[in-house]
Structures are given as C-alpha cells and as structure tokens.
Amino acid sequence: MAELFRILTMLLALFTQLLSQGPITPFPTPLPTATFTQPPATATPTPVPATSTAVPTRTSTPLPPTPTRTPTATATQISIIDEEDPTGFSVLGVPPAQKLPTAVLVYPLVSTRSGEDTLVEMMNLTNAPVTVKCHYVNAETCRGIDFFVRLTALQPIAWLASTGQSGNGLRIAPPLTAEQAELKCFVQPSSTSLSAHNALQGRAIVSDTDGQTVGYSAIGFRRLVAGSFTGRVALDGVTYEQCPDRLHFNALASQAGSDSELILVPCEEDLLRKRTTETVVQIAVINELKKQF
C-alpha cells in the first residue's frame, strides 16, 4: 500500500512538472508527413514563451512577472523605478504575441487625407464562420462608426477606407469620412471556446497619389480564457493579452528632405461613451553613441 502511494505521488509530481514547463517537449514529436492537410478547424492558442522583458537583471528592483502557461491574475500594475532603464522605470508585464490568430485587431493608422487612401485587409484563419465587430475611431474627436463584418471559413476580405465595401446589396464596411482614424475589430464568437475567439489576422496599406506606401500588420490581442464576448474587452493578461508597456522603434532622425512620423493610439478606449482622455507620452531616445535624450 505504501509502495502504491509512493508511485502515485511520483506520477503526480511528474504531471505537475509537465504542467509548469511550458513549451518543453519531453516526448518526441513525429516529423510532419509530406501530405498537406487542411488547416485545423480550431485556431489553437499557443503558450507564451519564456521571458519577454529586457530588464537588466543586475538591478535591485523586483523583476516583472514572467509569462506562464496559464493566465495569472494581475493586480493593479505599479511602475517600479529603475535607474538603469532609459525611461527610469522597469518594464512591466508581458506584451501581446504577434503574428498569431487573434481575437482583437487594432489598426493604428487608417488615412484618407488628401491624396491618401488605405487598403484594410482582414482574414479568418479558422475553418468556421466569424462575426467581427469593428469601429473606426476618428483621430481628432475619438468619435466612431461601428459596423459588422462577417467572414466565412478561411475568408480574406479587403476594402478601401475611402469607399468602404459592399456585398450582395449589403454594406460591409462604411466609407471613412474622417481624414485619419484608427480601426479596432473584435471577434464576436459563436461559441465560448477559446478557438472561436482567436480567428483573425489583419494588415493595412496606406498609399498616396505619388505611389508612396506604408504597409503594416494590425496589432493583435489574443483571448486567453474561454468565455463569451460581452463588449468589454479586458486586456489584462487574464481574459485577453495585455497591452505592451512600452514600444521600441528603430527610427531615422529627421533630416533635410526627409522626415518620419510617429502615430500613437491609446490602448485603452471607451467606445461606448466616446470620451477623450489625455495621455502623457514618455519618450526616451538613444543614439548610436549610447547618448540618451
């Protein structure tokens, strides 16, 4: 009896270890065969890999939490002072993983300014139909237009922001009347399963009459736990992935004859009341000679 109990305890310990080890594979996986199979019906969420922070470990301040296989409850995040960090604060939290099927897409730049237009693209990466609720948010007023996009299995769709999109006599996407806006799209799943949420990828191409184009991938946020879509998208690292704590750009300095633009949108937004909120943006610039500004 004692022997049986000891064996059971060892098996439980092994099971717990496997649970906590994330993507490590103690059991070898077979090599893929030459057959090309239809993409799976479910968009499988993947575990977040090991640490994604760039915080130097020599600081005396506590390290931000490393991502684990299961979502962990996050308390209110408090900035931790870090004198070695260029911004003066430690990096917090885990940024959203990109290039994966996601439940929320944010397109930071949709422009129909004079001479410009934007081709908005979205595709359903699953084998099931998907309903997507989208909002254009005017860059100046924060007011928005919302609309629904319904995608069949594996369907791609694209439309020009200036003209919108219609199909079978129905309006799919309205024309954007503002000069500049952002676009936010949310999967309204047909079931509460996780795979029904994480279905989309998207990108946009902004172009002008000179042929100058800017292409970018929409920023994606995955749903992390099963449940229904309530209209309140908690980007808290438990329900959905968190927003990034900071953005890192490798940018060209402004020179005569050339210029760069920085476009920022708030991650937090109240599309119900359409309230504008003022946000302070902190910018740390480091040149190639390690000088900070």
Partner: protein
C-alpha cells in the same frame, strides 16, 4: 492489494501520463515583436538600383555581441561577420556599402545580389535574458522611391545555456520555426506581386543547398480553395503566375486571397511584396505572414572565437 485497486491505479497512471504527453506534444510558432536571440531577414536586395537598409537594436542594458551571416540566394554561400552593440544601441547600415565603426571594431561587409541575413546573439552568460536582446527590421528601396519594409523574424532563446553556433529551433532550446505561413495577397497578375521564401533549416558550415518542395493552399473570398506546389533551393522568389497558372485575378475570382504556404522537407520563412493599384498609381509594400504551428529546424553557424 486487491485487483480493483490495481485497476484504479493503472487507469489513473495512464491518464496522468497520457495527458502529460498530449499537453507537451507539438511546438509553438515563434512569438514576434519580442527581444530575440536570433534574427532572420528574409530579403536583402542590392540588385540593380536597389539597396537594403538593415537595422538592429539592442533592447537590453548589456553589451551584446552578434554573429551574422549574409547568405546568397543563388548559391547558399555565406559571408560571416561580427557586430558589437553597446547597451540599448541602435545600429543601421546599407547592405551595398556595409559599415565600419573604428571605435568598437564593428564591421559589416558590403553585400551584392539577393539573399538573406541571419544574426544570432553570442551570449556572454547562459541565462536566457542574455540571449534575448535584439530586434531588427529592413527596408529595401529603389531609385524610384518605392520601398518595402519588414520586421526581421525573431526567435527567442527558451532555455539557459551557452551559444555554440548550432541554433536548435526546436521549441525547447530556441523557439521553433513556423509550420506554415499565412499571407493575405492581391491576385492581380498584371502587378508585380512577389513571394520570397527561405528555408528555416540551414547548414552554413557545409553550405550545401537543399531542394525543397513548397505546398500552397489558396482560398478566395468565396471560400473556394486551390492548391499548388513548386520547388526551390536557397531562396525562392516567385511572381504569382510562376507558382501556378491559376494564380490570376480571373481564375481566382476575387481581388484578394489567403495563401497558406508550407515546406515539405522543412519549415520556411518568407515575405510577400504587395503591389497595389491605388487609383492608377501602383505602390508596393512588404507583407509579412502570420504563423501557425511550430516545426523544428537547425541553423548551423561556422565556428566563432571565444
């Protein structure tokens, strides 16, 4: 102990072991936009009037050494060099000219032709934080002002250990390569849409090109699917009608399509160059894929001095 207890024990043991195997089977695709230990730039182009601006940034507060290799798209032959970055240092150079910093001794040779670039962090210590330090992007530009920008594909180190020059993209040591690539593409065959593919698996010691079969599954807006396959060696550069004769607007039937790409013998990385007609003016832009699944591969770098 009676037989009923034994049956219960065996069932429970089988459930524990089986569920553990199920959970641990399979690899995750490499997460992007994170500090990485290996960067792969699928397109470096200095043909004709084109050039490529390459950017790397050290996202850590430590000094970082990188081992980099240009790989020629035609021959798979490599040119290796080392870079040193100070804490948080950004660095950029044009591929045609290369760069040299006399203070740090950092140098990147000029590169001619079309190919790819791979850079790996030579970590001074075994901890994962010392490996995952860099991010990068590239901009291919031409005299006419057209540009194609893309972010380098990043692979994180997942477990501590030394850098040996053998980069195991197995989902355990480093993140795995994606099993398949998903692109949303334009189908207008009169425009210069291009697909660039490189193998994720690479032996830069022997530099022997391996022939790969690439499978395609294309889905239009009406959920109709088409399939095709083609072959490639070091780098595959394909105009869409070269992949399959049906990859035209008329045959596909819609302006846009979803293209799933998978390598048979090994995983692939890639980029599409979109050409879009905006009211009579054609603009081009880089089109990076989304990933699904993970598949193991190995990148073998020639030895480095310690």
């Amino acid at each position: 102990m009676n037989s009923r207890m034994w049956r219960t024990f065996i069932t429970l043991a089988a459930l524990l072991v089986g569920s553990g195997a199920f959970m641990s089977a399979g690899h995750a695709q490499p997460a992007q936009k994170l500090p990485s230990a290996l960067l792969i730039y699928p397109l470096i182009d200095t043909e004709g009037t084109r050039d490529t601006r390459i950017e790397i940034v050290n996202l850590s507060g430590d000094y970082v050494d990188l081992q980099c290799f240009y790989v020629h798209g035609d021959s798979c032959l490599e040119i290796g060099f080392f870079l040193s970055l100070t804490p948080y240092q950004p660095m950029a150079w044009t591929a045609r000219r290369g760069t040299f910093d006399p203070f740090s001794g950092t140098a990147a040779p000029p590169f001619y032709g079309t190919g790819e670039l791979k850079c790996a962090v030579v970590a001074p210590r075994n901890e994962v934080d010392y490996h995952n330090a860099i991010q990068g992007r590239a901009t291919v530009y031409a005299d006419d002002g057209q540009t194609v920008s893309y972010g380098a594909v990043g692979f994180q180190r997942l477990s501590p250990g030394p850098y040996t020059g053998i980069v195991e993209l197995d989902g355990s040591t480093y993140a795995a390569c994606p099993n398949r690539l998903h692109f949303q593409v334009q189908t207008n065959e009169t425009l210069p849409n291009e697909l660039i593919l490189i193998p994720c698996d690479q032996d830069l010691i022997l530099q022997i090109p391996t022939e790969l079969t690439v499978q395609f599954l294309i889905t239009n807006e009406f959920e109709q699917t088409y399939s095709a396959s083609t072959g490639m060696e070091c780098t595959g550069v394909f105009r869409f009608p070269e992949i399959a004769s049906f990859l035209t607007r008329a045959a596909i039937g819609t302006d846009t399509a979803q293209m799933n790409v998978r390598g048979v013998q090994g995983p692939l990385l890639g980029l599409v160059i979109d050409a879009v007609d905006f009211s009579g003016t054609v603009g081009i832009a880089g089109n990076e894929p989304s990933f699904s699944g993970g598949r193991r591969a190995t990148v073998q770098f020639p030895g480095f001095p310690r």
